[in-house]
Each structure stands twice: as structure tokens, then as C-alpha cells.
């Protein structure tokens, strides 16, 4: 399962960004060339949330939103950029040249992470900052 591996990577990125705070939302941007099935990604993310709920719970409430990006190909032959609707073949829809490069559609990013600011967590981070380790600013 491709999507489960991706969700494990997303989890690591999200936990790093959240710095110990509970996460309420995650937005990811995935290009269609990644061949990710959004329903499978959400299903696997639910597995990650359930796993979290059995542990520290930081991701238990983390809803995922997926921003899908269609494939756009730039053609070296005719110079056009074309949006590819269905067929994933690396072929210019205008002139059928194969000298194409994807301009969009290969994205695979965590965009945003929403975290809950609880009083206890804030104090904990403050203690940590006071101890000199800093918060990366």
C-alpha cells in the first residue's frame, strides 16, 4: 500500500511541525502523477489517527484535507503547456511529441498543520525555551 507509506511520512512531518501540540488538521498537496488514490490516503490516515489515539493521542483529532493538483506538461517540440485531463501518458496532447516535462502534477507536500494551543502545553514549551533550547526562532 503506497498510501500507507505516504501517511507514515506525513505523520513524521506533521509531528515535527506540531512540536508536541495536539493536531486538529493537516493539509497536503498531492500531484496526480504521484498516483495517489485520495480515498486510500484518507483511509490510511485514519489508521494513523487510530494508532495515535492508542499512544500519545497527538494526531487523534487530526482531520486531513487533500489538495489535488492536475498534470500540466510542457512540450519541448511545440512549446505549449497543456493540462492533461485523464490519460497519464507523457505525450504532448497538442503535437504528440514525447519530449515533455511535467510542470505540475508531481507535488507531494504537507502544506499546513493546525495545532491546539493548550495552557499546559504552552507552559511546557515555555519551560523548555527558558532552559535554553529555544524554539527555532
Amino acid at each position: 500500500m503506497h498510501e500507507l507509506s505516504l501517511c507514515e511520512s506525513i505523520r513524521d512531518v506533521v509531528l515535527t511541525a506540531a512540536q508536541g501540540r495536539p493536531v486538529t488538521g493537516v493539509t497536503v498537496r498531492i500531484g496526480r502523477l504521484r498516483q495517489v488514490v485520495p480515498e486510500s490516503l484518507l483511509f490510511c490516515w485514519d489508521a494513523i489517527r487510530h494508532e495515535s489515539a492508542r499512544g500519545d493521542g497527538l494526531l487523534a483529532d487530526a482531520e486531513m484535507a487533500i489538495e489535488e493538483v492536475p498534470v500540466t506538461l510542457a512540450c519541448a517540440n511545440c512549446g505549449k503547456q497543456t493540462l492533461v485531463e485523464d490519460d497519464l501518458a507523457m505525450l504532448c496532447p497538442g503535437c504528440f511529441a514525447t519530449a515533455v516535462e511535467p510542470v505540475t502534477g508531481t507535488e507531494c507536500l504537507v502544506l499546513t498543520v493546525d495545532v491546539r494551543e493548550a495552557g499546559a502545553d504552552r507552559a511546557g514549551i515555555a519551560d523548555h525555551a527558558a532552559a535554553g533550547a529555544g524554539m527555532g526562532s
Binding site: 512531518v13 486538529t24 497536503v28 514525447t98 507531494c108 502544506l111 507552559a123 524554539m135
Partner: protein, 301 residues
């Protein structure tokens, strides 16, 4: 990368100690604080800590994104939207760069071997290891796709160093090798005494292409029995390889699949790829593959 710690009192925090040496580094230091629910005007002081930075309109934080923050009024405390913009593969790519540096330091050429299940990858690898042994080429194998323990015994019989990865141990099993797994397997190989390492990836036509393991070359073993149209169905995978070993060519007379149609479909997604037909029924069919390999191995004095 930040490291998470859990203290005895149950609090967690991260040390943001990573190096900013990657384009997709974590933007935690640009954290955008957007508190929606300051119910108590005098609250949220919490004494010792630094005040959170209020959300400013910096280029990384367009107003549109701020408006996406939902209403979390059920909570007594506010919600912060952290702009992350980190590649999901950032951590893997860092580990892959580390692997590549280790391979380069030892002067080893590393070939990532991908396939679908049942394409005959282990058979091709066995023939390749036998050729390496006879040619005096010191080979290692990182084996991530053992179907049976017989496969491992078979490969170990050619004098190659073999490092086995138990890919079934992960949460739900693994569908590919990633760079940290390969880094782990590397510790069981003596790279300085090797010329070439083959990474036998998990048989899968989607996932292995996504995870850079730090190899110098990617090769696919594809059986003509799988049909001629798969390149169009799995373009990412077929774009990720520079050479396709078209296996089981001895079965072509019994199939509808036409190798020329396969070549045409492959050219639509990866016009630069080389196709070399092979069959285990005729060991001379491997010779172009061995020549391709020889041309990419370091010359030893």
C-alpha cells in the same frame, strides 16, 4: 530534524536542531500564530514563556490560508495554523543523500532493481551474481523482496555479500524499500570490499519509484507476460528507470503480447529508456545486460 522527547511528566516537545541544508526544510521557525479564541482578555499569559508571535502578512502566509482555519470554539484555547510546506519525501531524500555519499566514498556503484511481483527479478539477479563472480567483480545485495527463504539461499550461493531486509516487519508491511531501510541494511555490508551493490526492491509497480534509496542507476525487470500496456498504466515507475530488462522472452510465441508494442508504449512515457530482452532459457541473452553493467562499474587497477 527535530527530535521529540517525552518527559516523565508526560509533556512532549521538539528540539528544532536540524540543519537547513535542504530546499524543503521545515518552516517551523516561520510559525504563524493565529489565535481565534481569546475568550478571556486577561488570559493566556502563562507567566514565563515568550509571547507567541501574532500572525503577520508575510509572503509565506497568504491571507487566503488564514481564512481556512476552522472554528474551534469548542475549545477553551486557540488553534494555530503552522505553515509547513515540507516535502513528504524530505526525510527520505536526506537519508538517500547519506546513502549515496557512503556509496561514493567507498567507490561502489549501486543499482536499484525494481519489478512487479513475479517478473523473475530473483532469477535475473542470480544470473547476474554468477557473472560478477566469474568476472572477478565483487558484488553485494540488499535484499528486500524475499518470497521464500530459498531465494535468499540461492543468492547467497554466488559468493556475494547479502544483507536481508525484513520488509514485513513494518506497520501493515512494506511495499517498497525506503532510504532509511537501505541505510540500516548497509551496516551489514563491507562497502570498501565491493564494486557493485544491487538493491532488490519490493515487487510493486507504484511505490518503489517514489522513494529514492540513494542508488546511482535504476533498472526494471519486466516480464513480457505482464502485457504490453503497463507503461501507460504506471508511467511514474517506467519513467524512473533507465533500463528495462524485458524478461521471459522465450514465452512470446505463446502470448498475444508483442514486444514491439511494449517498446512503443514505453517510449510514450520514457523515450530515453533502453530495452534489453532476456530469457533464463538462454544465458547468452544476458550478455547485453552484462555489457551495460560493465560500462557503469568502476575500473580497478
Amino acid at each position: 530534524m527535530g527530535r521529540f522527547h517525552r518527559h516523565a511528566d508526560g509533556t512532549t516537545h521538539a528540539h528544532d536542531d536540524h540543519e537547513h541544508d535542504h530546499e524543503d526544510h521545515d518552516h517551523v521557525d516561520h510559525e504563524h500564530v493565529d489565535r481565534h479564541h481569546d475568550h478571556d482578555p486577561g488570559g493566556h499569559k502563562h507567566g514565563l514563556g515568550p509571547a507567541p508571535r501574532r500572525g503577520g502578512a508575510s509572503p509565506e502566509h497568504p491571507e487566503a490560508r488564514e481564512r481556512e482555519v476552522g472554528d474551534h470554539s469548542a475549545y477553551e484555547t486557540g488553534t494555530t495554523r503552522v505553515a509547513v510546506l515540507t516535502s513528504i519525501f524530505a526525510e527520505n531524500d536526506r537519508a538517500a543523500d547519506g546513502n549515496r555519499a557512503a556509496f561514493d566514498a567507498a567507490g561502489v556503484v549501486v543499482i536499484n532493481v525494481m519489478s512487479s511481483p513475479g517478473a523473475g527479478k530473483t532469477t535475473v539477479l542470480a544470473a547476474t551474481l554468477a557473472w560478477c563472480r566469474d568476472a572477478g567483480i565483487r558484488a553485494g545485495v540488499i535484499e528486500g523482496d524475499i518470497e521464500t527463504s530459498l531465494d535468499a539461499e540461492r543468492l547467497a550461493g554466488y559468493g556475494a555479500q547479502v544483507s536481508l531486509l525484513n520488509t514485513g516487519a513494518g506497520f501493515g508491511g512494506e511495499c517498497h524499500l525506503d532510504a532509511p531501510m537501505v541505510a540500516h541494511a548497509l551496516r551489514r555490508l563491507d562497502l570498501d570490499s565491493l564494486d557493485v551493490v544491487f538493491v532488490e526492491n519490493v515487487g510493486n509497480l507504484v511505490c518503489p519509484a517514489e522513494f529514492d534509496v540513494g542508488a546511482h542507476h535504476s533498472v526494471m525487470v519486466y516480464a513480457i507476460t505482464e502485457g504490453e500496456e503497463k507503461p501507460l498504466k504506471y508511467p511514474v515507475m517506467f519513467r524512473a528507470c533507465e533500463l528495462v530488462l524485458l524478461n521471459k522472452m522465450d514465452l512470446v510465441p505463446y502470448l498475444d503480447a508483442d514486444p514491439e508494442d511494449f517498446r512503443a508504449h514505453l517510449a510514450r512515457v520514457n523515450p530515453a529508456a533502453t530495452v534489453l530482452p532476456v530469457t533464463s532459457r538462454d544465458l547468452t541473452s544476458y550478455e547485453p545486460w552484462f555489457a551495460w553493467l560493465s560500462a557503469r562499474l568502476p575500473t580497478r587497477g
